[in-house]
């Protein structure tokens, strides 16, 4: 990948589940060679835990193929001393190691930063533990929902006046991935200037807390806990998601200024109720938002969500369809911007993936996610110089495993 921003950079990925793999996929998008070190000893949970029915592709299937696209896979059993020796050879010829294993894992394998830098003095290690690699709770275990809970996000998530609930997605993980990239790139820039390597440690729970300063500062400044508000805003109204024509179809509308409210009224055909004193300015609309929401829902329910969005947007009002995944993938805007890419995975077949959340003239599309050990030959023979018979022995001994 000539001209790619990160071409020539080699990253070893001890990654699993989501935060680490997604970081690797983005780095690969940007031209880095990312080598994921996996093992049959303990497979990546996304190779084994399935969200949809197995179509016979076994461990080369499902979410794994979205979050690991573009990376290379080799199998190496780090529970064996020979596995560790080979891993160290790989470290020697790499720029960085990224890992989202629990903080105890790498030290237990004798692979803490102080050891790694003996092998390669300017190596960069980026770790993405849930709570950080130091501190009293460093060994606490987590899924993304655990991190969102402890980081202070979940307490404010839910319908207005109701209990907190779980969301259908897990932003804590991709938040960790992006902070991982920020940390890695910072360390690489530092290395360019000083020749010095680095261990960058990123606490994912802290990452979540940095994205919700309103909630934190509300308490610091006024001693208040932010209530759960569903779709509501602190000042805007209407500001909600309204039912539309069809089964489970919805449109979101956000009105701030009086000008936007006038435009909304015009699109609704200036109904009599909209002229009422109680909706005449932003504060009154906000105060009377429950009634306002009912009246707007009464208007949207006979229209398609796309129709409402396009009409309001053309009049300068922020509106958007609450898209389901099928609508999202087929949406004309996403199509035009090639957000989703259909890949032909050698085992799983047709696979829909989405690209990085930005584009530039220099970013590229990548091959599908690797099958387990797909790049063993490349890594062990081409990169590390083992002969075919040595490799066969290592496979026999379950070192390459």
């Amino acid at each position: 990948m000539r001209n790619s921003p990160l071409s020539g950079l080699r990253v070893v990925a001890l990654t699993w589940v989501w935060a680490g793999p997604w970081m690797g996929a983005i780095l690969a998008d940007m031209g880095a060679e990312v080598i994921k070190v996996e093992t049959n000893q303990r497979l990546d949970a996304q190779r084994t835990v399935k969200v949809c029915k197995d179509v016979g592709a076994g461990i080369n299937h499902d979410q794994f193929n979205i979050t690991n696209r573009g990376v290379k896979s080799c199998t190496l059993n780090l529970k064996q001393p020979e596995g560790i020796e080979i891993f160290k050879k790989l470290v020697k010829i790499s720029d960085a190691i990224i890992s989202n294993f629990a903080p105890r894992v790498m030290p237990n394998l004798g692979l803490e930063y102080d050891e790694l830098k003996k092998i390669n003095p300017d190596i960069i290690l980026v770790t993405l533990p849930a709570f950080g690699s130091n501190g009293p709770d460093k060994d606490y275990v987590s899924y993304a929902s655990t991190i969102e809970a402890v980081g202070g996000l979940s307490a404010s998530f839910g319908y207005h006046g109701e209990n907190p609930v779980l969301s259908g997605t897990y932003p804590a993980d991709p938040i960790g991935s992006m902070y991982g990239i920020v940390g890695l790139m910072a360390a690489l820039n530092y290395r360019t200037k000083t020749g010095q390597g680095q261990h960058v440690d990123i606490a994912q729970s802290e990452g979540v807390s940095t994205l919700i300063p309103e909630i934190i500062m509300e308490y610091v400044m006024n001693g208040r806990i932010r209530p759960r508000m569903g779709n509501r805003d602190e000042i805007m109204a209407p500001h909600g998601c309204y039912p539309c024509k069809g089964d489970d179809k919805w449109v979101a509308i956000a009105v701030g200024t009086n000008q936007e409210w006038d435009a909304t009224r015009m699109i609704m055909g200036n109904p009599e109720w909209s002229k009422d004193e109680k909706f005449s300015d932003q504060f009154r609309r906000w105060q009377n938002q429950e009634e306002l929401d009912r009246l707007i829902a009464n208007w949207t329910k006979d229209l398609t969500a796309y129709d409402v969005m396009n009409k309001l947007q053309k009049a300068g009002v922020a509106a958007g369809v609450s898209l389901n995944v099928e609508e999202l993938i087929n949406d004309p805007h996403c199509k035009k911007r090639k957000v989703f890419v259909e890949q032909n995975h050698p085992v799983a077949g047709k696979t829909i993936v989405y690209r990085s959340p930005w584009t530039s003239a220099l970013t590229a599309t990548n091959p599908p996610a690797p099958c387990l050990g797909e790049h063993n030959h490349y890594v062990f023979k081409t990169l590390l110089g083992f002969t075919d018979s040595e490799i066969a022995k290592l496979i026999d001994k379950k070192v390459i495993y």
């Binding site: 949809c52 299937h61 979940s154 998530f157 920020v182 530092y190 994912q204 802290e206 994205l211 220099l362």
Partner: protein, 402 residues
């Protein structure tokens, strides 16, 4: 700054609200010199956004603004004036990075498109963050947190415990505006690294909608391989993966591995019902969740959040205490890592803010500086840096340029 890493990097920010200011904050936290350009008189819109210290609004007292703009230089400039445009060009000429989140239309009006800027500075990295990106049929559509959450597909699957009669909802606060700013910072740092190596610049087209889409891997996998369209009703095929009420709050209870469930049964004191055939695996527990929720809640309601959290974690079970802001601020783990920082602010009381989630082993952490008050660094930048005299500056002020 927090860490002196990008101290030779010059950034110009022409941003408003959250996404671009947060992107530039991340660069400033890492030591880059960020010059934030605000509109004369009114400044960034977050200056007028909650929360305000002691609920008393004022353009120097928004917690959101203060957080987003620490470690930056602040100047005022009106690029609609001819002189303002010229000064803008002078700033961009010397910059490595330009971060903005204005609509493509507005940037065209101001002749500040990438094409325009490339003529002044061919090696610049320009990071443009908009709700729907620089191209495509919705490029000029308006978007805010609510709209991008729903247009990115996250709303439709939120919440897991919802049902079709209840509307899809957004995440709290401005999570996805922030996530877009964070993604933009990752993109910018990659592009800067490349620029530093090769002298090649580029425009990064960051779409807030696409930043939301990156959270959708499970829904996309289900659609890709199973043609399933996940909604709020049918995500819960396994259980528990829920939030349960406790004596004094709430706890997240969710398992991926069966052994975690069995260990949690022991934490609950192994009640008889736990051996029922109805709850023998994650899928049957999902099917009979209503009954199970009732039984589990009876136990959780008798215990405190911290007690359940600590006892489970000690057995390696990934439960999560649902922490409110006051509890996050008191968290011993975050305190041990000195995550929260006090920022000395000459305009205001010293307050505690969230810090940064990364630690560098070989670089000393430093104390951050307070956000600039409106136009605080006009003299420093216009006179000391760009060579205008003090009397020029007062004329520029009178003319409404700065």
């Amino acid at each position: 700054m927090f860490y002196k890493v990008l101290d030779d990097v010059k950034v110009v920010e022409y941003g408003n609200f959250i996404s671009a200011p947060f992107c530039a904050k991340i660069l400033a936290d890492l030591g880059a010199e960020v010059i934030k350009i605000e509109a004369p008189n009114c400044g960034d819109i977050t200056r007028r956004q909650e929360p305000f210290l002691n609920d008393s609004p004022g353009i120097e007292s928004s917690g959101l603004f203060q957080y987003l703009n620490m470690n930056k230089f602040g100047i005022t400039l009106n690029p609609e004036t001819a002189t303002g445009k010229k000064i803008f060009g002078e700033l961009l000429k010397n910059a490595d990075i330009f971060v903005e989140n204005n609509s493509p239309k507005r940037m065209k009006e101001l002749t500040l498109t990438y094409k325009d800027i490339k003529k002044i500075n061919s090696r610049i990295v320009m990071t443009s963050i908009t709700p729907f990106g620089q191209t495509g049929p919705y490029r000029d559509y308006k978007g805010c947190e609510l709209i991008i959450a729903h247009m990115g597909g996250v709303g439709y699957v939120s919440t897991r415990e919802g049902n079709k009669n209840k509307e899809p909802i957004k995440y709290p606060a401005h999570l996805f505006n922030f996530q877009a700013g964070l993604s933009a910072a990752a993109a910018t740092m990659i592009a800067y690294y490349h620029q530093n190596m090769t002298g090649i610049g580029e425009q990064l087209d960051v779409s807030e909608q696409e930043s939301v889409i990156q959270n959708m891997n499970s829904a996309v996998a289900r659609y890709s391989y199973g043609k399933q369209i996940i909604a709020r009703t049918d995500i819960l095929d396994i259980a528990p993966a829920h939030i349960l009420p406790c004596k004094d709050g709430y706890i997240y209870v969710g398992f991926v591995e069966e052994s975690e469930w069995r260990r949690f049964v022991e934490v609950m004191g192994h009640p008889d019902w736990a051996d029922s055939e109805l709850f023998k695996d994650a899928w049957t527990r999902g099917r009979y969740w209503d009954a199970l929720k009732h039984l589990m809640s009876e136990w959780t309601m008798e215990h405190s959040v911290e007690e359940i959290y600590r006892r489970s974690q000690e057995k390696g079970i990934p439960l999560g205490a649902i922490r409110t802001a006051d509890q996050v601020l008191k968290d011993k783990q975050m305190a041990a890592r000195e995550f929260f920082v006090d920022v000395e602010n000459p305009q205001n009381t010293n307050l505690t803010y969230p810090g940064v989630p990364y630690r560098f082993s070989e670089i000393q952490r430093e104390s951050p500086l307070a956000a600039p008050f409106l136009g605080q660094h006009n003299e420093e930048i216009y006179c000391d840096r760009l060579g205008y005299t003090k009397s020029d500056l007062s004329k520029l002020e009178e003319a409404g340029v700065v």
